[in-house]
């Protein structure tokens, strides 16, 4: 049993090391990838524009639930007007970046991993190497960059729609005063809170994109292997996101 445990530990360390080395390999390819920016744009479209509908719908419902729950709770203390600041802080600092990252891992991360895994399984990556095209340079780096660009924008859209969702429930349905909803939000939310959200979504973008391309690129070249890579992408991304969330929150704590 201890032997098995040690093996698992060593495997995890090896995986982490390999991922960091893969990150450096990607970073080395970034300057040249910027010269072929059309490839990056295509990936921003794949990772960002195609995730727009799910992000907007989720943001709307998360905001609406926040409005409903927040209203119920704040009503007990007779301070329904604080709903604006409660919803805005919750969305901008926590729910926006985290839920976006989880949805991103499920929607775009799995697509990336299975696409790269299938490329590996059907020897497309080997074929590129045969033609002296570096597959990391040509395939992986644009996908990585596309994910990084898309994530903060998706998180910002999520938060904005969420705030309007909370406003819809709070102000339109529950009758909270619209003026105090917005003015309490403005006086309570600091620019640092917005910055924290942007920093978080940037970090999650890097982590989720790296995990997706790493798992896909190193997938076993079988149908089962591609499936496993997809699953691992979601699991690892979710855990890493929540862990990073704690770290960055602690960093921003005054």
């Amino acid at each position: 049993m201890p032997g098995e445990l040690r093996n698992r530990l060593v495997t995890t360390l090896v995986e982490t090391g390999a991922m960091v080395r893969f990150l450096f390999r990607i970073l080395a390819g970034v300057p040249r990838a910027l010269l072929r920016f059309d490839l990056v744009v295509a990936q921003v479209y794949n990772a960002g524009a195609l995730s727009l509908v799910i992000i907007m719908l989720s943001g709307l419902f998360v905001g609406m639930v926040l409005g409903l729950q927040g209203f119920q709770l704040l009503q007990r203390f007779g301070s329904e007007e604080a709903l604006g600041i409660a919803a805005a802080i919750g969305l901008v600092k926590e729910l926006g970046p985290v839920v976006t990252a989880l949805l991103f891992a499920g929607r775009a991360g799995t697509a990336l991993a299975s696409e790269l895994g299938l490329m590996r399984a059907t020897d497309q990556l080997s074929a590129m190497e045969m033609m002296a095209v570096d597959p990391v340079q040509r395939v992986v780096v644009p996908r990585f960059l596309g994910g990084i660009i898309a994530m903060p924008l998706l998180a910002a859209i999520f938060s904005m729609i969420g705030i309007y969702g909370a406003q819809l429930v709070g102000v339109q349905f529950m009758g909270v005063d619209s003026g105090s909803f917005w003015s309490q939000m403005r006086s309570g939310v600091d620019l640092v809170d917005v910055t924290e959200g942007i920093v978080k979504s940037g970090a999650f973008g890097i982590a989720c994109s790296l995990i997706a391309v790493y798992e896909g690129y190193h997938a076993e070249p079988t149908a089962e292997g591609v499936g496993r890579a997809t699953t691992r992408t979601v699991v690892t991304s979710a855990v890493t996101t929540l862990f990073l969330d704690y770290l960055i929150t602690a960093m921003f704590l005054k």
């Binding site: 960002g48 524009a49 903060p152 924008l153 403005r186 006086s187």
Partner: protein, 180 residues
């Protein structure tokens, strides 16, 4: 060609929407948005004995209406007072210069804000003017402390009064003897 067109259109739309959302979050949900437009304003200072937890960006209101914000708080080491700079909207330029400024609390435990009460003077506050009449923040701990001290005195009052007089009398007599 058509494929590339829709791709660019979709990406452009997405990026535009994303930056619009970022702009919304930075300007509409925070208090910084107001300073972007840089409305005409004028600065007025006031010195307080204690500002409590008044912060830069706290509202300045008159009759309950926000007329400006606190733009700076510093400490004057000459007379040990807090110097609060208030940035008032130029629309409200007819505030008598003998108005007084007090620090109030929003709700029972809310944040602090500066409330101005109009005086009866003929001259109005201008840029870089100084408000002389101020009242400090109401610090809950001090009030509780005072209350407890008073409460302790009155409760023990009956006992200490009688005990204090004989003790004070011998203490006073040697002093008298010395002066003789």
């Amino acid at each position: 060609m058509r494929n590339s067109h829709t791709l660019n259109l979709g990406t452009g739309l997405f990026v535009l929407l994303g930056f619009a959302a970022l702009f919304f979050l930075t300007t509409q949900t925070t208090s910084r948005g107001l300073s972007f437009g840089s409305k005409p304003h004028y600065d007025v200072t006031a010195k307080f004995d204690n500002v409590g937890d008044l912060k830069v960006g706290s509202p300045v209101s008159m009759a309950g209406v926000e007329i400006g914000r606190v733009s700076d708080i510093s400490f004057d080491s000459k007379d040990y007072k807090a110097v609060v700079v208030m940035r008032l909207d130029s629309r409200y330029n007819q505030i008598p210069s003998d108005s007084d400024a007090s620090i109030y609390t929003q709700g029972l435990l809310g944040g602090k804000f500066v409330g101005l009460t109009a005086g009866g003077g003929e001259t109005y506050l201008k840029d870089k003017d100084h408000i002389d009449f101020t009242q400090s923040a109401f610090v809950l701990e001090n009030l509780i402390g005072q209350f407890l001290a008073n409460f302790g005195k009155t409760a023990a009052g009956a006992g200490t009064d009688t005990a204090a007089t004989p003790a004070a009398a011998p203490a006073a007599t040697p002093a008298k003897e010395k002066t003789k």
